[in-house]
Amino acid sequence: MRVRLSRRFPNLRQSGGRWQHHHVISVTWRYHVHSYASLAPSQDVGQGSTLLLTSLTPATRSSLYLGVDTKSGSLFCSQCNNFVYNVMFEDLYLSTILLLEEQQTRFQVSKRTREPYQPWAPNNEEAAFLKNTTVLPCQGCRGLLNLGQTCFLNVILQSFIYNPLLRNFFLGDRHNSRLCKHTDCTCCEMDGLFTEIYSSSTIPFGPTSFLATTWKVSAEMSGYAQQDAHEFFITALNQIHGTCRGSTNISCNCIVHQTFAGQLQSEVTCERCGNVTRTVDPMLDISLELRDPGIEKEITLAGCLRRYTKPEKLGREYSCTKCAKATHEAVRRLSIRKLPPVLSFQFKRFEHKTVSKGVPQKIDTPVRFPVAINMAPYTTLATSSNGETTYPGPDAMYEYDLFAVINHEGQMENGHYTNFARFQDEWYRFDDEKVTLSSLGTCLNSNAYMCFYVKRHLDYKPYMKPTYLVARENDIVREQEQEKMRELARMKEVDDALMATIAGD
């Protein structure tokens, strides 16, 4: 599959003038390359890497060339004998890959292609407005003070702060705490949290009002004892959902559901008659059991997910609706029907079953988790048992990148939570108020309790106005209507008063 860049991006010719030493005439991008072709045999860049080397300036037969690694789109310059970074090329590569993906994906139901991505460019009005604004750095990094066994709160808050979708929502002023009319509003607390983080201050601060509001709304979370971070995570999500504008109980579109909500399918097959019953349940995260890995093998996230989605005999009696016989032979299989933009995993380390001495034990076995995961094998489409193989879409739709990890050390009642979080390509370690630059390796080698992954490519409903824009427009119309009514009411009052004066004469 080839895309002629010069046709897609006609301005490439003009920008050719920008290249002092390299004259770009046209660059052909090969999408699948199995071996690499070399035009200068002495240049052995790297065995096994797929490098397409194109000679430019064919007229002068110069030995100067640019190469492209087809897997990453990185640009190699023979003159520098190194990979070089060029912003324009990065953009071109991303745009091309996206274009190809768009052309290759069709919607399951309507068979239409995806809507082509249009990067945002300010219109005249917006450009004029932006002229008078100051650009702030988009990284906010602050430690959170421990207010008395509140490390469980701090780690979850940090995971929210480094969550790109939540960050964009609150930095986009979508829940302005000054305009909100709720009391004890956790959504306002989130707005407050982001305001603090992105303020010019870098010193740690204490999320006191967040904690206070959480206590007021969920009494079971109050008190100074150590709480479970995962429990707080779910509580916080429910609270934010509850105070978010436009949240509903069925297929809610609030920021919590937009970010975290997926769907889990449970498929039960009656072994006697083959009848299949499917139930779909909403989910905000996935909790994975940790079982004994066996002698040599280690526990991996992929292993846990495989176990989670493998067919299992139903341990109890099952009454099949079709053959109407109670049977002990039913098989259940879980699969992910809908993947959320942010995937949260919890490893069930705190077993509440009493083991031998009646004290719940913490399972400290480390789990190996990757920096990126492809969720396709665990989806309903991939584990479909109805025999037909539908094309599940390009891999890009299933790729997720790790952005936060929560760690717990110590025992159940007296432990300590810390976390890692990523901004762009840098990893940081958070221990309450202490924030340090860390590394991917340190993070991956840590003992994880919770892991957060974000989808690499977001999916959109095509050719549709976003619901929040529609809601805003409806608001404006409603405001205008209400204003009209108020005006009419005022005028009526004036008329009535006038009539009263006349009648009184």
Partner: protein, 98 residues
């Protein structure tokens, strides 16, 4: 170059070509990639390469590649090496028994 080495090279080229043509190269590579990734080998290399490049000014691709290639070769998990070699061996066996 001795005759046996050039024979081995010729055989390698032939097997490689057949593997690519039959699609087995891609299939085995995919499985290998998934296994290495699941065992943390790929992430380890990524981390090493990043930290190594960070210490260089300017970062040089070839140096980084040489260093991590060495480490990568040495740290392929035994089970993965065993399973992949078995798959390749099976392929060669199937091919040349026809």
């Amino acid at each position: 170059m001795s005759k046996s080495t050039s024979d081995a090279d010729a055989l390698y080229t032939q097997v490689h070509r057949r593997m690519v043509e039959s699609g087995d190269w891609d299939r085995i590579l995919r499985v290998l990639s998934a296994k290495l990734s699941e065992q943390g080998w790929s992430d380890e290399l990524y981390h090493r390469a990043k930290e190594r490049a960070r210490m260089m000014d300017p970062p040089l691709f070839k140096t980084v590649l040489e260093e991590i290639s060495l480490h990568g070769e040495a740290t392929v998990p035994v089970s993965v090496r065993r399973e992949t070699t078995a798959q390749i061996r099976q392929f060669v066996k199937d091919q040349f028994e026809k």
